[in-house]
Symmetry: C2
Subunit: 381 residues, 2 copies
Amino acid sequence: MKRLLIFLVLASLTLTSAAQGRRNFARSEFPKVNDDNSITFLLMAKDAKKVSVVGDFSLENGKERRHFEMQPTEQGLWRVTTPPLRPEIYSYNFIIDGVRTCDALNMMQLRDGENHFSAVIVGGGQADLYKVQQTPHGTLHTIWYPSPTLNMQRRMTVYTPAGYAESRKKLPVLYLLHGMSGDETAWAELGRTAQIMDNLIAQGKCREMIVVMTNGNAWQQCAPTHNGGRAMQQYRNGEQGAPTFVDSFGDVIAYVEKNFRVLKKAQYRAIAGLSMGGGHSFAISRRYPRTFDYVALFSAAVRGFNDEQVQAELKAQRDNGLKLYWIACGKDDFLYKLNCDYMQYLDSISMPYTWRESDGGHTWRNWRIYLSELVPMLFQE
Amino acid sequence: MKRLLIFLVLASLTLTSAAQGRRNFARSEFPKVNDDNSITFLLMAKDAKKVSVVGDFSLENGKERRHFEMQPTEQGLWRVTTPPLRPEIYSYNFIIDGVRTCDALNMMQLRDGENHFSAVIVGGGQADLYKVQQTPHGTLHTIWYPSPTLNMQRRMTVYTPAGYAESRKKLPVLYLLHGMSGDETAWAELGRTAQIMDNLIAQGKCREMIVVMTNGNAWQQCAPTHNGGRAMQQYRNGEQGAPTFVDSFGDVIAYVEKNFRVLKKAQYRAIAGLSMGGGHSFAISRRYPRTFDYVALFSAAVRGFNDEQVQAELKAQRDNGLKLYWIACGKDDFLYKLNCDYMQYLDSISMPYTWRESDGGHTWRNWRIYLSELVPMLFQE
């Protein structure tokens, strides 16, 4: 009876398309996280010949995503249950006869660059940091700032912790940068920055701080999804010329320090980024000397350290002294060797750093973990 | 050659799934808005038997969405071009052998309640209000407030106009409410509130104001997409008991007036809402007498006006006097007759109101138009 009900409801879903007012029981059940932390997926596709779920269910070995073939059950319904999974935010698509889609039964989607994924949280452990818990909550500001260097207005996302508006306290700032194909929405959406910060602050595990999430694509005003139409067009002419995002970073700092109640010394500024954003952090922390006492590189594209100019800047950075230079990378990351080579160079000039090797590859799973490990180390006096 | 390139790129898209770093020419071209304002869609689905695009391309006649069958072209590629369309934000899905999906070539998606749609803007005319233009831009705050009445923290979205942070000026407030299956993200995403406000303020067509977009589902803390997993579960027990959202609205006003720099008199407060949110505005504006001098009902569910208590409150509202009581509805809206009946009642008690009849039905197209027409009328001294 229940199955019949599900079938009838699902059948009606694919036949109607008005968006308002539809409520039903079946949609609330799938994807279903079972008691053993496996997930059961359900799909209605009565004319399909082959259906699978593909997602980041197994990222220990780097970037490979795992496929589960779905089995036809009653008329037109396909179903599969994964093995038990560890706590995490999982993103996935269905592949229906070769066409990649999201899960119409699941309201939660994440966009990673050009691609939309359905998402499901298996709670517990680390993943509880990614959930909205019963703590005080900070505010996310979607805000525009002028960049005279790039001659445009640009969008950023700023996290202020709970109580910021009512307090008169000045706070330290973490600048947090995304990777290639990301934008100013990436850390808040995929990185769950607000939830991680809310939870760690509430647990007393990190200081209150402001987190500034920029758009590192110098040719973009804002996320290409935000202004409609042929959004990807902006990528076509996307080769970085001069001036670059790194050149413009002074505009970001100037805006934040004018418009937020912040502490304006190097010991209260941190910069961190993933992949391309790790490369940006590597560059910006040298380019703006004595500005950041905390630097963190997540799976970073630390390119160019054989260059003489870069080496001179790194030596100056070493001599200026830092409180933390944190390098994190997964063993299966395609940038792992580059980071090892970079650390060998840092050893050769006796520049201190802290190395955090993890399992896994070039994935948001790792970047969320790195963020949650980094912030407790920041701004400790 | 170009077609071959497109085919190869698209084929590779469906076969790979890593999200990072993929840039190509083809994705930037589709959906393509042609010079005559028709749209060309492209889809790769080599094993499909029947594919169509369905979207709100023709909403003059109410809620019906329009289908365009796609034609197979070279191997696995499907294509269709719509007739010329008027300027608008269009939302659409592909139906591939009965399965509704979004357009993987289009980064822009909108969520309307439980459903995700791809979206494309055909610019010009009214639709230029929906685009990010070269104007100063306001800030969107994703913020949590305490609701003692509902005994939970709840999320809202607040628009502050450009310059708010630097100014000392106190501003009037528009409270803007969503419909059934919507939440605190609906007006900003589907309603393009920030763009409409930025553009109208820049054109000198409306006053600077703060816009507060609440979550009107009393059983929810925030959009169900925001906290992962079986998001729709919250809908199951979603019947409104007591206390209701209307009961709790005093918590919203108290929070806004404490935490934003606002003018705290009825002549500087407006409340507007669509559908269920129109019903909320209808109720809240009576329940909190002498609080709002401006009330606007968009396609509103104005239920219960035969009730004695409601009628007594309406007469009190009439006697208190209002600067504007605006009722807007489309001729094809399923709530059109209800609104006409309501106005007949208002006539019978000589309560003044302004009637805005439009074409079309119960659609975001109309609600964006109504918002853009309403705000120039607000807070004019």
